[in-house]
Each structure stands twice: as structure tokens, then as C-alpha cells.
């Protein structure tokens, strides 16, 4: 499991791109459904965006979003799936 995150600030807005490694199994798959239900995007510890997803989000999900902030802030991307597995990554905003 891994999350790759890029967070770049321009004119007071942080552009965040996150690529999460997850198979996102649909109900017809062996072991499915097994998918990320919730993703949280936080800046300096405060939640800015909460994503709730169905299994109809593509495998190895990609999420791009924008929040107010500055270079040097810490952006945290974390997810939890429907079987209780989770992952989290911090990056410094460039």
C-alpha cells in the first residue's frame, strides 16, 4: 500500500494530487467488494475535504483537489476501506 501525494501552492491555493494504491474490488471480484470508502484531506491537522466513495471509483484511485494554504503547510491524505484497512501520508506543500 502506498499513497503518492504532490501538493503545490500558487497564489494562496494548494493544488493536491493523490494517487492511492488499492485494487478497489467490485462485488463480482474474488474477495470483493473491497474498496476505499473514505478519504480525508487535511491541512495542518484540520480536515478540509472528506471524500466518500463507492466501489465504482477506479482501481488505484486518483484524486485532485484545491484548498487554501501556503507553502510549508503539511497536507495529510489518509484513507479507510470497507474492511477496516487504512493508509496515510504527510507531505510538505511546495
Amino acid at each position: 500500500m502506498s499513497i503518492r501525494v504532490r501538493a503545490q501552492e500558487s497564489n494562496g491555493v494548494i493544488n493536491i494530487r493523490a494517487l492511492m494504491s488499492h485494487d478497489m474490488l467490485v462485488p463480482d471480484d474474488d474477495g470483493g467488494p473491497h474498496f476505499i470508502e473514505t478519504v480525508e484531506i487535511a491541512r495542518n491537522g484540520d480536515t478540509a475535504i472528506t471524500a466518500n466513495w463507492n466501489y465504482t471509483v477506479s482501481r488505484n484511485p486518483f484524486l485532485q483537489c484545491e484548498i487554501d494554504g501556503a507553502a510549508g503547510d503539511t497536507v495529510t491524505v489518509s484513507w479507510t476501506d470497507n474492511k477496516g484497512e487504512s493508509d496515510s501520508t504527510d507531505v510538505e506543500v511546495r
Binding site: D29, A48, I49, T50, N52, W53, N54, C65, E66
Partner: protein, 156 residues
């Protein structure tokens, strides 16, 4: 099929019970989807039922919402979708695929400082209308675009 529906029903019942207790105890604002993963909304079958579960109404007015998606997607397993709005005070956003078994694909809750501009990649089982909706103030607005899918992406 029967067992699947029964499982969804049971999950929905349990979730509703928990949320009801929390609202009664004053722990939650009475907004429908701001708490845990909204299993009832994701399990809803049919577009009107999904709209109802997310917004409280089976119809959503057309409004200032920009949906960017391909007119033709060669691979239904990976369809890039961007939703953007210049409306003020957007607190929620949602993406629906009309002809997927469960239309609600993604639901976003935005706190202060989050912009109404989110992109992702979704699965489509067949050609369908894709609906992007945003909640501005107390009102939801939507935009609809048809995406033609050459190869479906929901397995089976």
C-alpha cells in the same frame, strides 16, 4: 441477488439506527451525509432514489456546475471526471452515473478553505448520463453529460 439485497437492507437498518441515536443525543447536525460513510445513499438503486438519499429530493435543479468528462470513453474502467463550480459556499459535491447499479459514485464534504474543484476517475458499466451536483447554501444544483463507453468497466 436476494441475499445481496438483504445484506444491503440490514446494513442500512443498522446504520440508520446508529445515526438516529446520535442525532437524538445532539451529537450530529441534522445534515444527511456529513457523518460516517453513507451506506444508504451508496446502496440506492436508480437515479431518483440516489438523488433522494443524497439531497432529500428526487430531482435536482440545473445550475452553475461544470462537469468535464470525455464524450467517448474507450475504457469504462477508467473515466476521468472533473467537477467544478463558481457558486458560493459549496459544502458538498456528488457524482452520479445514471445506469450503474448503484448510481452514487462519489460524495465530497468541503470544509472552509476547500474549493469546489475536484477531479477523479470512475467506473462506468455502460454508456450513461453522468451527473455532477453541488450543494451551495441549502440548495443542490446539477449538470448532466452523456458519456459513451466502448468497453464497460464494472466486471462481469
Amino acid at each position: 441477488m436476494i441475499s445481496t439485497k438483504r445484506r444491503v437492507f440490514l446494513k442500512g437498518t443498522l446504520a440508520a439506527g446508529t445515526v438516529g441515536v446520535a442525532v437524538g443525543a445532539g451529537l450530529l447536525a441534522p445534515s444527511k451525509l456529513l457523518a460516517a460513510w453513507p451506506s444508504e445513499a451508496f446502496g440506492a438503486e436508480g437515479l431518483e432514489a440516489a438523488f433522494e438519499a443524497v439531497t432529500g429530493s428526487s430531482d435536482i435543479a440545473d445550475g452553475d456546475v461544470t462537469l468535464s468528462a470525455p464524450e467517448i470513453a474507450e475504457n469504462g474502467a477508467v473515466v476521468p471526471v472533473s467537477v467544478e463550480s463558481s457558486l458560493d459556499n459549496v459544502t458538498e459535491m456528488a457524482v452520479f452515473v445514471e445506469l450503474n447499479n448503484q448510481p452514487l459514485t462519489a460524495h465530497y464534504v468541503l470544509a472552509d478553505g476547500a474549493h469546489a474543484n475536484i477531479s477523479g476517475r470512475i467506473r462506468m458499466g455502460e454508456s450513461s448520463n453522468v451527473i455532477a451536483a453541488v450543494k451551495s447554501g441549502d440548495t443542490w444544483y446539477k449538470t448532466v453529460q452523456e458519456v459513451k463507453v466502448t468497453v464497460g468497466g464494472c466486471g462481469g
